[in-house]
Symmetry: C2
Subunit: 255 residues, 2 copies
Protein backbone atom coordinates (compact mmCIF):
# COMPACT_ATOMS: atom_id res chain seq x y z
CA UNK A 1 0.00 0.00 0.00
CA UNK A 2 1.35 3.41 -1.00
CA UNK A 3 0.32 6.17 1.40
CA UNK A 4 -0.09 9.83 0.45
CA UNK A 5 -0.94 12.76 2.77
CA UNK A 6 -2.84 15.67 1.28
CA UNK A 7 -1.64 18.55 3.36
CA UNK A 8 -1.20 22.32 3.54
CA UNK A 9 -1.58 24.35 6.72
CA UNK A 10 -3.16 27.20 4.77
CA UNK A 11 -6.87 26.90 5.17
CA UNK A 12 -9.43 26.42 2.42
CA UNK A 13 -7.01 25.54 -0.40
CA UNK A 14 -8.82 22.38 -1.59
CA UNK A 15 -7.31 19.61 0.57
CA UNK A 16 -10.62 17.90 1.24
CA UNK A 17 -11.98 18.46 -2.27
CA UNK A 18 -8.78 16.92 -3.67
CA UNK A 19 -8.74 13.99 -1.22
CA UNK A 20 -12.33 12.98 -1.90
CA UNK A 21 -12.12 13.35 -5.67
CA UNK A 22 -8.69 11.82 -6.28
CA UNK A 23 -9.57 8.83 -4.08
CA UNK A 24 -12.84 8.28 -5.98
CA UNK A 25 -11.18 8.42 -9.42
CA UNK A 26 -8.50 5.95 -8.36
CA UNK A 27 -11.23 3.62 -7.11
CA UNK A 28 -12.99 3.91 -10.47
CA UNK A 29 -9.74 3.04 -12.28
CA UNK A 30 -9.74 -0.26 -10.36
CA UNK A 31 -7.29 0.51 -7.55
CA UNK A 32 -8.43 -0.53 -4.10
CA UNK A 33 -8.25 2.82 -2.30
CA UNK A 34 -8.52 3.90 1.34
CA UNK A 35 -9.45 7.48 2.29
CA UNK A 36 -8.60 8.55 5.86
CA UNK A 37 -10.24 11.67 7.29
CA UNK A 38 -7.74 13.11 9.76
CA UNK A 39 -9.48 16.47 10.17
CA UNK A 40 -11.75 16.98 13.21
CA UNK A 41 -14.05 18.99 10.92
CA UNK A 42 -14.97 15.69 9.24
CA UNK A 43 -15.46 17.30 5.81
CA UNK A 44 -14.02 14.34 3.87
CA UNK A 45 -16.39 11.98 5.73
CA UNK A 46 -19.44 14.03 4.77
CA UNK A 47 -18.07 14.80 1.30
CA UNK A 48 -18.09 11.06 0.61
CA UNK A 49 -21.63 10.68 1.89
CA UNK A 50 -21.24 9.63 5.53
CA UNK A 51 -23.28 11.24 8.31
CA UNK A 52 -20.58 12.16 10.79
CA UNK A 53 -23.08 12.49 13.67
CA UNK A 54 -23.83 8.78 13.32
CA UNK A 55 -20.18 7.74 13.38
CA UNK A 56 -19.46 5.93 16.61
CA UNK A 57 -15.83 4.82 16.16
CA UNK A 58 -13.53 7.03 14.15
CA UNK A 59 -9.84 7.50 13.34
CA UNK A 60 -9.55 8.99 16.84
CA UNK A 61 -10.18 5.59 18.46
CA UNK A 62 -7.52 3.95 16.28
CA UNK A 63 -4.99 6.66 17.14
CA UNK A 64 -5.40 6.19 20.88
CA UNK A 65 -5.21 2.42 20.43
CA UNK A 66 -8.75 1.67 21.59
CA UNK A 67 -9.61 -0.19 18.39
CA UNK A 68 -7.77 -1.66 15.39
CA UNK A 69 -7.92 0.52 12.32
CA UNK A 70 -9.05 -2.45 10.22
CA UNK A 71 -12.23 -2.60 12.35
CA UNK A 72 -13.32 0.94 11.52
CA UNK A 73 -12.77 0.82 7.77
CA UNK A 74 -16.11 1.30 5.98
CA UNK A 75 -17.04 0.59 2.39
CA UNK A 76 -18.18 3.79 0.67
CA UNK A 77 -20.93 3.88 -2.00
CA UNK A 78 -18.24 4.22 -4.66
CA UNK A 79 -16.25 1.59 -6.55
CA UNK A 80 -13.22 0.22 -4.71
CA UNK A 81 -13.29 3.11 -2.24
CA UNK A 82 -13.14 2.56 1.51
CA UNK A 83 -13.16 5.23 4.23
CA UNK A 84 -11.91 5.71 7.77
CA UNK A 85 -14.12 8.52 9.06
CA UNK A 86 -13.46 11.29 11.54
CA UNK A 87 -15.77 12.82 14.09
CA UNK A 88 -15.63 15.42 16.81
CA UNK A 89 -13.70 13.14 19.18
CA UNK A 90 -10.64 13.98 17.09
CA UNK A 91 -10.62 17.52 18.49
CA UNK A 92 -9.30 16.17 21.77
CA UNK A 93 -6.62 13.98 20.13
CA UNK A 94 -4.03 16.74 19.99
CA UNK A 95 -3.99 17.29 23.76
CA UNK A 96 -4.31 13.61 24.57
CA UNK A 97 -1.52 12.46 22.24
CA UNK A 98 0.87 15.17 23.47
CA UNK A 99 1.69 13.16 26.58
CA UNK A 100 1.81 9.74 24.96
CA UNK A 101 4.96 7.75 24.16
CA UNK A 102 5.91 7.80 20.44
CA UNK A 103 3.10 10.26 19.86
CA UNK A 104 4.19 10.93 16.27
CA UNK A 105 3.91 7.32 15.11
CA UNK A 106 0.41 6.42 16.32
CA UNK A 107 -1.05 6.51 12.82
CA UNK A 108 1.90 4.62 11.34
CA UNK A 109 1.32 1.74 13.79
CA UNK A 110 -2.43 1.82 13.27
CA UNK A 111 -2.01 1.49 9.48
CA UNK A 112 -0.05 -1.75 9.88
CA UNK A 113 -3.34 -3.61 10.25
CA UNK A 114 -4.43 -2.66 6.68
CA UNK A 115 -1.05 -2.53 4.96
CA UNK A 116 -1.86 -5.40 2.55
CA UNK A 117 -5.52 -4.62 1.95
CA UNK A 118 -5.24 -1.59 -0.36
CA UNK A 119 -3.25 -0.31 -3.32
CA UNK A 120 -3.35 3.32 -2.25
CA UNK A 121 -4.23 5.31 0.83
CA UNK A 122 -4.92 9.07 0.94
CA UNK A 123 -5.00 11.07 4.18
CA UNK A 124 -6.98 14.35 4.30
CA UNK A 125 -5.10 16.60 6.76
CA UNK A 126 -6.36 19.50 8.91
CA UNK A 127 -5.19 23.08 8.17
CA UNK A 128 -2.24 23.09 10.58
CA UNK A 129 1.23 21.68 11.25
CA UNK A 130 0.08 20.04 14.47
CA UNK A 131 0.53 16.53 15.83
CA UNK A 132 -2.24 15.10 13.61
CA UNK A 133 -0.47 16.37 10.48
CA UNK A 134 2.90 15.14 11.79
CA UNK A 135 1.30 11.71 12.33
CA UNK A 136 0.07 11.74 8.74
CA UNK A 137 3.47 12.74 7.32
CA UNK A 138 5.25 10.17 9.49
CA UNK A 139 3.00 7.42 8.14
CA UNK A 140 3.23 8.52 4.50
CA UNK A 141 5.41 7.68 1.52
CA UNK A 142 4.34 10.90 -0.20
CA UNK A 143 2.84 14.33 0.37
CA UNK A 144 0.57 15.98 -2.17
CA UNK A 145 0.34 19.76 -1.67
CA UNK A 146 -2.73 21.66 -2.96
CA UNK A 147 -1.90 25.33 -3.53
CA UNK A 148 -4.72 27.80 -4.10
CA UNK A 149 -3.83 30.32 -6.81
CA UNK A 150 -4.02 33.25 -4.40
CA UNK A 151 -1.45 35.45 -2.67
CA UNK A 152 -1.80 34.26 0.96
CA UNK A 153 -1.50 30.64 -0.19
CA UNK A 154 2.05 31.29 -1.43
CA UNK A 155 3.20 32.51 1.94
CA UNK A 156 2.81 29.25 3.80
CA UNK A 157 4.66 26.97 1.39
CA UNK A 158 8.14 27.49 2.80
CA UNK A 159 6.88 26.59 6.30
CA UNK A 160 5.30 23.43 4.99
CA UNK A 161 8.55 22.45 3.27
CA UNK A 162 10.38 23.05 6.55
CA UNK A 163 8.04 20.67 8.33
CA UNK A 164 8.41 18.04 5.60
CA UNK A 165 12.19 18.30 5.97
CA UNK A 166 12.01 17.96 9.78
CA UNK A 167 9.77 14.91 9.51
CA UNK A 168 12.10 13.38 6.93
CA UNK A 169 15.15 13.95 9.16
CA UNK A 170 13.59 12.82 12.44
CA UNK A 171 10.67 10.50 11.79
CA UNK A 172 10.32 9.24 8.23
CA UNK A 173 13.23 9.29 5.81
CA UNK A 174 11.01 7.87 3.01
CA UNK A 175 8.74 10.92 2.84
CA UNK A 176 8.92 12.66 -0.53
CA UNK A 177 6.85 15.27 -2.36
CA UNK A 178 4.56 13.55 -4.87
CA UNK A 179 3.64 16.90 -6.35
CA UNK A 180 1.97 20.29 -6.13
CA UNK A 181 -1.54 20.74 -7.46
CA UNK A 182 -2.77 24.23 -8.31
CA UNK A 183 -6.40 24.76 -7.31
CA UNK A 184 -9.33 27.18 -7.73
CA UNK A 185 -7.67 28.68 -10.78
CA UNK A 186 -9.45 31.48 -12.65
CA UNK A 187 -7.57 32.11 -15.90
CA UNK A 188 -9.03 35.64 -16.22
CA UNK A 189 -7.35 36.67 -12.98
CA UNK A 190 -3.87 38.24 -13.28
CA UNK A 191 -2.83 37.32 -9.75
CA UNK A 192 -3.81 33.68 -10.31
CA UNK A 193 -1.60 33.54 -13.40
CA UNK A 194 1.27 35.10 -11.47
CA UNK A 195 0.91 32.51 -8.71
CA UNK A 196 0.99 29.71 -11.30
CA UNK A 197 4.18 31.11 -12.83
CA UNK A 198 5.82 31.51 -9.44
CA UNK A 199 4.92 28.01 -8.24
CA UNK A 200 6.04 26.47 -11.55
CA UNK A 201 9.38 28.29 -11.51
CA UNK A 202 10.04 27.22 -7.92
CA UNK A 203 8.81 23.60 -8.01
CA UNK A 204 9.45 22.93 -11.74
CA UNK A 205 8.23 19.46 -12.78
CA UNK A 206 6.94 18.64 -9.30
CA UNK A 207 3.87 20.72 -10.29
CA UNK A 208 1.18 18.59 -11.88
CA UNK A 209 0.30 19.81 -15.36
CA UNK A 210 -3.46 19.48 -14.61
CA UNK A 211 -4.67 22.65 -12.93
CA UNK A 212 -8.00 22.53 -11.08
CA UNK A 213 -10.22 25.43 -12.21
CA UNK A 214 -12.60 27.28 -9.89
CA UNK A 215 -15.82 25.42 -10.71
CA UNK A 216 -19.11 25.78 -8.85
CA UNK A 217 -19.94 22.08 -9.36
CA UNK A 218 -16.99 21.20 -7.09
CA UNK A 219 -18.40 23.28 -4.26
CA UNK A 220 -21.93 21.96 -4.81
CA UNK A 221 -21.08 18.25 -4.84
CA UNK A 222 -20.32 17.91 -1.08
CA UNK A 223 -23.79 19.23 -0.24
CA UNK A 224 -25.09 16.10 -1.96
CA UNK A 225 -22.48 13.87 -0.27
CA UNK A 226 -21.19 12.93 -3.71
CA UNK A 227 -17.76 13.11 -5.31
CA UNK A 228 -17.62 15.08 -8.54
CA UNK A 229 -17.45 12.02 -10.81
CA UNK A 230 -20.93 11.10 -9.58
CA UNK A 231 -22.39 14.58 -9.10
CA UNK A 232 -21.36 15.96 -12.51
CA UNK A 233 -18.78 13.92 -14.38
CA UNK A 234 -18.89 16.22 -17.44
CA UNK A 235 -18.06 19.40 -15.48
CA UNK A 236 -14.72 21.19 -15.90
CA UNK A 237 -13.96 20.33 -12.28
CA UNK A 238 -14.53 16.62 -12.86
CA UNK A 239 -12.43 16.53 -16.03
CA UNK A 240 -9.56 18.31 -14.25
CA UNK A 241 -9.61 15.89 -11.31
CA UNK A 242 -9.78 12.94 -13.71
CA UNK A 243 -6.68 14.12 -15.60
CA UNK A 244 -4.93 14.91 -12.33
CA UNK A 245 -5.75 11.42 -10.99
CA UNK A 246 -4.19 9.86 -14.09
CA UNK A 247 -1.02 11.88 -13.53
CA UNK A 248 -1.00 10.84 -9.87
CA UNK A 249 -1.31 7.14 -10.71
CA UNK A 250 1.53 7.47 -13.21
CA UNK A 251 3.76 8.99 -10.54
CA UNK A 252 2.69 6.50 -7.84
CA UNK A 253 3.31 3.54 -10.13
CA UNK A 254 6.36 4.83 -11.90
CA UNK A 255 8.13 6.76 -9.15
CA UNK B 1 -10.29 48.38 25.42
CA UNK B 2 -12.88 46.04 23.90
CA UNK B 3 -11.34 42.85 22.54
CA UNK B 4 -12.78 40.79 19.69
CA UNK B 5 -11.47 37.47 18.31
CA UNK B 6 -12.09 36.71 14.66
CA UNK B 7 -12.29 32.97 14.63
CA UNK B 8 -13.55 29.92 12.78
CA UNK B 9 -11.70 26.60 12.62
CA UNK B 10 -12.82 26.10 9.01
CA UNK B 11 -9.96 27.16 6.79
CA UNK B 12 -10.04 29.88 4.19
CA UNK B 13 -13.34 31.53 5.20
CA UNK B 14 -12.07 35.12 5.35
CA UNK B 15 -10.75 35.49 8.94
CA UNK B 16 -7.60 37.32 7.95
CA UNK B 17 -9.27 39.38 5.23
CA UNK B 18 -11.92 40.45 7.77
CA UNK B 19 -9.39 41.17 10.57
CA UNK B 20 -7.18 43.36 8.39
CA UNK B 21 -10.02 45.29 6.76
CA UNK B 22 -12.28 45.79 9.78
CA UNK B 23 -9.31 46.99 11.86
CA UNK B 24 -8.31 49.46 9.15
CA UNK B 25 -11.79 50.93 8.78
CA UNK B 26 -12.13 51.38 12.55
CA UNK B 27 -8.78 53.16 12.55
CA UNK B 28 -10.01 55.45 9.78
CA UNK B 29 -13.15 56.24 11.80
CA UNK B 30 -10.88 57.58 14.54
CA UNK B 31 -10.79 54.62 16.94
CA UNK B 32 -7.36 53.66 18.20
CA UNK B 33 -7.22 50.04 17.09
CA UNK B 34 -4.85 47.14 17.77
CA UNK B 35 -4.63 44.17 15.39
CA UNK B 36 -3.04 40.99 16.82
CA UNK B 37 -1.88 38.28 14.43
CA UNK B 38 -2.23 35.00 16.32
CA UNK B 39 -1.79 32.76 13.29
CA UNK B 40 1.66 31.21 12.67
CA UNK B 41 1.02 31.73 8.94
CA UNK B 42 1.42 35.48 9.57
CA UNK B 43 -1.06 36.45 6.87
CA UNK B 44 -2.49 39.43 8.81
CA UNK B 45 1.04 40.76 9.34
CA UNK B 46 1.81 40.67 5.63
CA UNK B 47 -1.70 41.76 4.67
CA UNK B 48 -1.09 44.99 6.61
CA UNK B 49 2.27 45.53 4.92
CA UNK B 50 4.83 44.04 7.33
CA UNK B 51 7.62 41.78 6.12
CA UNK B 52 7.28 38.81 8.45
CA UNK B 53 10.83 37.60 7.73
CA UNK B 54 12.17 40.81 9.28
CA UNK B 55 10.07 40.47 12.42
CA UNK B 56 12.35 39.68 15.34
CA UNK B 57 9.95 39.73 18.30
CA UNK B 58 6.38 38.62 17.75
CA UNK B 59 3.26 37.68 19.69
CA UNK B 60 5.04 34.39 20.43
CA UNK B 61 7.56 36.16 22.68
CA UNK B 62 4.77 37.90 24.59
CA UNK B 63 2.89 34.63 25.08
CA UNK B 64 5.87 32.88 26.61
CA UNK B 65 6.55 35.90 28.79
CA UNK B 66 9.91 36.81 27.27
CA UNK B 67 8.80 40.35 26.48
CA UNK B 68 5.95 42.70 27.40
CA UNK B 69 3.31 42.96 24.72
CA UNK B 70 3.48 46.76 24.84
CA UNK B 71 7.11 46.53 23.61
CA UNK B 72 6.23 44.68 20.40
CA UNK B 73 3.30 46.85 19.31
CA UNK B 74 4.13 48.53 16.01
CA UNK B 75 2.50 51.47 14.29
CA UNK B 76 1.15 50.44 10.87
CA UNK B 77 1.11 52.74 7.83
CA UNK B 78 -2.61 53.29 8.39
CA UNK B 79 -4.46 55.82 10.53
CA UNK B 80 -4.82 54.86 14.21
CA UNK B 81 -3.91 51.25 13.46
CA UNK B 82 -1.26 49.38 15.45
CA UNK B 83 -0.17 45.77 14.97
CA UNK B 84 1.31 42.94 17.02
CA UNK B 85 2.85 40.71 14.34
CA UNK B 86 3.29 36.97 14.16
CA UNK B 87 6.15 34.98 12.74
CA UNK B 88 7.18 31.36 12.41
CA UNK B 89 8.19 31.10 16.08
CA UNK B 90 4.47 30.83 16.82
CA UNK B 91 4.40 27.33 15.28
CA UNK B 92 6.18 26.01 18.37
CA UNK B 93 3.91 27.86 20.82
CA UNK B 94 1.28 25.13 20.91
CA UNK B 95 3.69 22.45 22.16
CA UNK B 96 5.56 24.81 24.49
CA UNK B 97 2.43 26.27 26.12
CA UNK B 98 0.91 22.81 26.66
CA UNK B 99 3.07 22.22 29.71
CA UNK B 100 2.86 25.73 31.15
CA UNK B 101 0.81 26.77 34.19
CA UNK B 102 -2.40 28.69 33.28
CA UNK B 103 -1.67 27.99 29.62
CA UNK B 104 -5.07 29.31 28.51
CA UNK B 105 -4.61 32.79 29.98
CA UNK B 106 -1.20 33.75 28.60
CA UNK B 107 -2.66 36.19 26.09
CA UNK B 108 -5.08 37.63 28.64
CA UNK B 109 -2.19 38.49 30.97
CA UNK B 110 -0.06 39.83 28.11
CA UNK B 111 -2.86 42.20 27.04
CA UNK B 112 -2.94 43.84 30.48
CA UNK B 113 0.04 45.96 29.47
CA UNK B 114 -1.96 47.69 26.69
CA UNK B 115 -5.43 47.64 28.23
CA UNK B 116 -5.71 51.46 28.37
CA UNK B 117 -3.93 52.29 25.14
CA UNK B 118 -6.59 51.31 22.58
CA UNK B 119 -10.32 51.55 21.98
CA UNK B 120 -10.58 48.23 20.19
CA UNK B 121 -8.46 45.15 19.67
CA UNK B 122 -9.01 42.47 17.00
CA UNK B 123 -7.30 39.05 17.09
CA UNK B 124 -6.87 37.10 13.85
CA UNK B 125 -7.06 33.41 14.81
CA UNK B 126 -5.61 30.32 13.10
CA UNK B 127 -7.92 27.73 11.47
CA UNK B 128 -8.22 25.44 14.48
CA UNK B 129 -9.67 25.10 18.00
CA UNK B 130 -6.22 24.75 19.51
CA UNK B 131 -4.54 26.43 22.47
CA UNK B 132 -3.82 29.63 20.50
CA UNK B 133 -7.52 30.03 19.68
CA UNK B 134 -8.50 29.19 23.27
CA UNK B 135 -6.07 31.90 24.43
CA UNK B 136 -7.73 34.38 22.08
CA UNK B 137 -11.26 33.49 23.25
CA UNK B 138 -10.21 33.60 26.89
CA UNK B 139 -8.83 37.12 26.43
CA UNK B 140 -11.83 38.40 24.43
CA UNK B 141 -15.08 40.17 25.20
CA UNK B 142 -16.47 39.09 21.82
CA UNK B 143 -16.09 36.62 19.00
CA UNK B 144 -16.82 37.56 15.38
CA UNK B 145 -17.42 34.49 13.20
CA UNK B 146 -16.82 34.73 9.43
CA UNK B 147 -18.83 32.07 7.58
CA UNK B 148 -18.08 31.37 3.94
CA UNK B 149 -21.26 30.84 1.92
CA UNK B 150 -20.32 27.26 1.03
CA UNK B 151 -21.47 23.83 2.19
CA UNK B 152 -18.40 22.69 4.18
CA UNK B 153 -18.33 25.98 6.06
CA UNK B 154 -21.74 25.20 7.60
CA UNK B 155 -20.53 21.94 9.06
CA UNK B 156 -18.06 23.39 11.49
CA UNK B 157 -20.27 26.00 13.13
CA UNK B 158 -21.74 23.74 15.81
CA UNK B 159 -18.23 22.71 16.91
CA UNK B 160 -17.18 26.32 17.16
CA UNK B 161 -20.24 27.14 19.28
CA UNK B 162 -19.36 24.20 21.56
CA UNK B 163 -15.89 25.61 22.07
CA UNK B 164 -17.27 29.10 22.78
CA UNK B 165 -19.59 27.57 25.38
CA UNK B 166 -16.74 25.62 27.03
CA UNK B 167 -14.57 28.73 27.19
CA UNK B 168 -17.46 30.73 28.63
CA UNK B 169 -18.11 28.08 31.32
CA UNK B 170 -14.49 27.46 32.28
CA UNK B 171 -12.31 30.41 31.38
CA UNK B 172 -14.18 33.58 30.43
CA UNK B 173 -17.82 34.13 31.41
CA UNK B 174 -17.85 37.50 29.56
CA UNK B 175 -17.34 35.98 26.11
CA UNK B 176 -20.28 36.63 23.80
CA UNK B 177 -20.92 36.37 20.07
CA UNK B 178 -20.63 39.81 18.48
CA UNK B 179 -22.01 38.44 15.24
CA UNK B 180 -21.73 36.26 12.16
CA UNK B 181 -20.43 37.73 8.92
CA UNK B 182 -21.22 35.98 5.64
CA UNK B 183 -18.27 36.05 3.25
CA UNK B 184 -17.33 35.33 -0.38
CA UNK B 185 -20.98 35.55 -1.40
CA UNK B 186 -21.89 35.08 -5.05
CA UNK B 187 -25.56 35.99 -5.49
CA UNK B 188 -25.82 33.96 -8.73
CA UNK B 189 -25.01 30.76 -6.88
CA UNK B 190 -27.96 28.75 -5.52
CA UNK B 191 -25.96 27.04 -2.79
CA UNK B 192 -24.65 30.37 -1.54
CA UNK B 193 -28.18 31.68 -1.22
CA UNK B 194 -29.22 28.53 0.64
CA UNK B 195 -26.32 28.95 3.07
CA UNK B 196 -27.36 32.57 3.72
CA UNK B 197 -30.93 31.49 4.45
CA UNK B 198 -29.78 28.70 6.75
CA UNK B 199 -27.36 30.88 8.71
CA UNK B 200 -29.95 33.67 9.03
CA UNK B 201 -32.68 31.32 10.25
CA UNK B 202 -30.32 29.79 12.85
CA UNK B 203 -28.53 32.92 14.12
CA UNK B 204 -31.32 35.46 13.42
CA UNK B 205 -30.23 39.04 14.21
CA UNK B 206 -26.72 37.94 15.24
CA UNK B 207 -25.97 37.87 11.50
CA UNK B 208 -24.67 41.20 10.24
CA UNK B 209 -26.83 42.60 7.47
CA UNK B 210 -23.73 43.49 5.41
CA UNK B 211 -22.69 40.47 3.37
CA UNK B 212 -19.15 40.42 1.92
CA UNK B 213 -19.32 39.56 -1.82
CA UNK B 214 -16.69 37.50 -3.59
CA UNK B 215 -14.57 40.30 -5.05
CA UNK B 216 -11.21 39.87 -6.76
CA UNK B 217 -9.91 43.18 -5.35
CA UNK B 218 -10.05 41.65 -1.85
CA UNK B 219 -7.78 38.81 -2.89
CA UNK B 220 -5.41 41.14 -4.76
CA UNK B 221 -4.92 43.70 -1.99
CA UNK B 222 -2.73 41.51 0.29
CA UNK B 223 -0.25 41.02 -2.54
CA UNK B 224 0.34 44.78 -2.29
CA UNK B 225 0.43 44.67 1.52
CA UNK B 226 -2.53 47.06 1.57
CA UNK B 227 -5.98 46.87 3.16
CA UNK B 228 -8.86 47.28 0.75
CA UNK B 229 -9.63 50.88 1.74
CA UNK B 230 -6.22 51.83 0.39
CA UNK B 231 -5.92 49.36 -2.47
CA UNK B 232 -9.34 50.08 -3.99
CA UNK B 233 -11.76 51.97 -1.77
CA UNK B 234 -14.48 52.10 -4.49
CA UNK B 235 -14.60 48.31 -4.99
CA UNK B 236 -17.62 46.25 -3.94
CA UNK B 237 -15.38 44.51 -1.41
CA UNK B 238 -14.33 47.81 0.16
CA UNK B 239 -17.88 49.13 0.36
CA UNK B 240 -19.08 45.92 2.01
CA UNK B 241 -16.33 46.01 4.65
CA UNK B 242 -16.99 49.69 5.28
CA UNK B 243 -20.68 49.03 5.93
CA UNK B 244 -19.85 46.00 8.03
CA UNK B 245 -17.38 48.04 10.10
CA UNK B 246 -20.08 50.62 10.82
CA UNK B 247 -22.38 47.83 12.02
CA UNK B 248 -19.57 46.44 14.18
CA UNK B 249 -18.89 49.78 15.82
CA UNK B 250 -22.58 50.21 16.54
CA UNK B 251 -22.64 46.83 18.28
CA UNK B 252 -19.37 47.41 20.15
CA UNK B 253 -20.51 50.80 21.39
CA UNK B 254 -24.11 49.97 22.03
CA UNK B 255 -23.84 46.44 23.31
N1 LIG C 1 -11.86 24.07 -7.62
C1 LIG C 1 -12.83 24.53 -6.83
N2 LIG C 1 -13.77 25.35 -7.35
C2 LIG C 1 -14.75 25.87 -6.56
N3 LIG C 1 -14.86 25.63 -5.26
C3 LIG C 1 -13.96 24.83 -4.69
C4 LIG C 1 -12.90 24.22 -5.43
N4 LIG C 1 -12.16 23.45 -4.59
C5 LIG C 1 -12.73 23.58 -3.37
N5 LIG C 1 -13.81 24.38 -3.44
C6 LIG C 1 -14.66 24.83 -2.31
O1 LIG C 1 -13.84 25.74 -1.56
C7 LIG C 1 -13.98 25.49 -0.16
C8 LIG C 1 -12.60 25.08 0.39
O2 LIG C 1 -12.21 23.82 -0.13
P1 LIG C 1 -11.84 22.60 0.86
O3 LIG C 1 -12.77 22.57 2.00
O4 LIG C 1 -11.69 21.39 0.03
O5 LIG C 1 -10.41 23.12 1.32
P2 LIG C 1 -9.55 22.54 2.53
O6 LIG C 1 -8.14 22.90 2.22
O7 LIG C 1 -9.86 21.12 2.74
O8 LIG C 1 -10.10 23.43 3.76
P3 LIG C 1 -9.66 23.24 5.31
O9 LIG C 1 -8.36 24.00 5.41
O10 LIG C 1 -10.77 23.87 6.11
O11 LIG C 1 -9.51 21.78 5.55
C9 LIG C 1 -15.02 24.41 -0.02
O12 LIG C 1 -16.25 25.03 0.22
C10 LIG C 1 -15.03 23.71 -1.38
O13 LIG C 1 -16.27 23.19 -1.69
N1 LIG D 1 -14.67 38.35 -0.23
C1 LIG D 1 -13.62 37.82 -0.85
N2 LIG D 1 -13.59 37.78 -2.19
C2 LIG D 1 -12.56 37.20 -2.83
N3 LIG D 1 -11.50 36.63 -2.23
C3 LIG D 1 -11.48 36.63 -0.90
C4 LIG D 1 -12.52 37.23 -0.13
N4 LIG D 1 -12.21 37.09 1.20
C5 LIG D 1 -11.03 36.44 1.23
N5 LIG D 1 -10.58 36.17 -0.01
C6 LIG D 1 -9.39 35.41 -0.39
O1 LIG D 1 -9.67 34.04 -0.07
C7 LIG D 1 -8.55 33.45 0.57
C8 LIG D 1 -8.95 33.04 1.97
O2 LIG D 1 -9.20 34.17 2.77
P1 LIG D 1 -8.43 34.39 4.16
O3 LIG D 1 -7.01 34.00 4.02
O4 LIG D 1 -8.75 35.74 4.64
O5 LIG D 1 -9.19 33.31 5.03
P2 LIG D 1 -8.78 32.76 6.47
O6 LIG D 1 -10.02 32.27 7.09
O7 LIG D 1 -8.01 33.79 7.18
O8 LIG D 1 -7.82 31.52 6.07
P3 LIG D 1 -6.99 30.61 7.13
O9 LIG D 1 -8.01 29.62 7.60
O10 LIG D 1 -5.89 29.99 6.31
O11 LIG D 1 -6.50 31.53 8.19
C9 LIG D 1 -7.42 34.48 0.54
O12 LIG D 1 -6.62 34.21 -0.58
C10 LIG D 1 -8.16 35.82 0.39
O13 LIG D 1 -7.38 36.75 -0.28
MG1 LIG E 1 -10.41 20.17 4.56
MG1 LIG F 1 -6.13 33.55 8.12
Amino acid sequence: MKICSISNQKGGVGKTTSSVNIATYLGKMGYKTLLIDLDPQGNASSGIGLNKYRIDKSIYHALIGEIDLVDIVRKSDYENLFVVPSNRDLIGAEVELMQAYSRETKLLSALNSVQNDFDFCFIDCPPSLNLLTVNALTASDYILIPVQTEYYALEGISELLNTVQLVRENLNKNLSILGIVLTMFDSRNNLANQVVDEVRSYFKDKVFSSIIPRNVKLSESPSHGEPILVYDSKSRGAEAYEKLSEEIVARLNGV
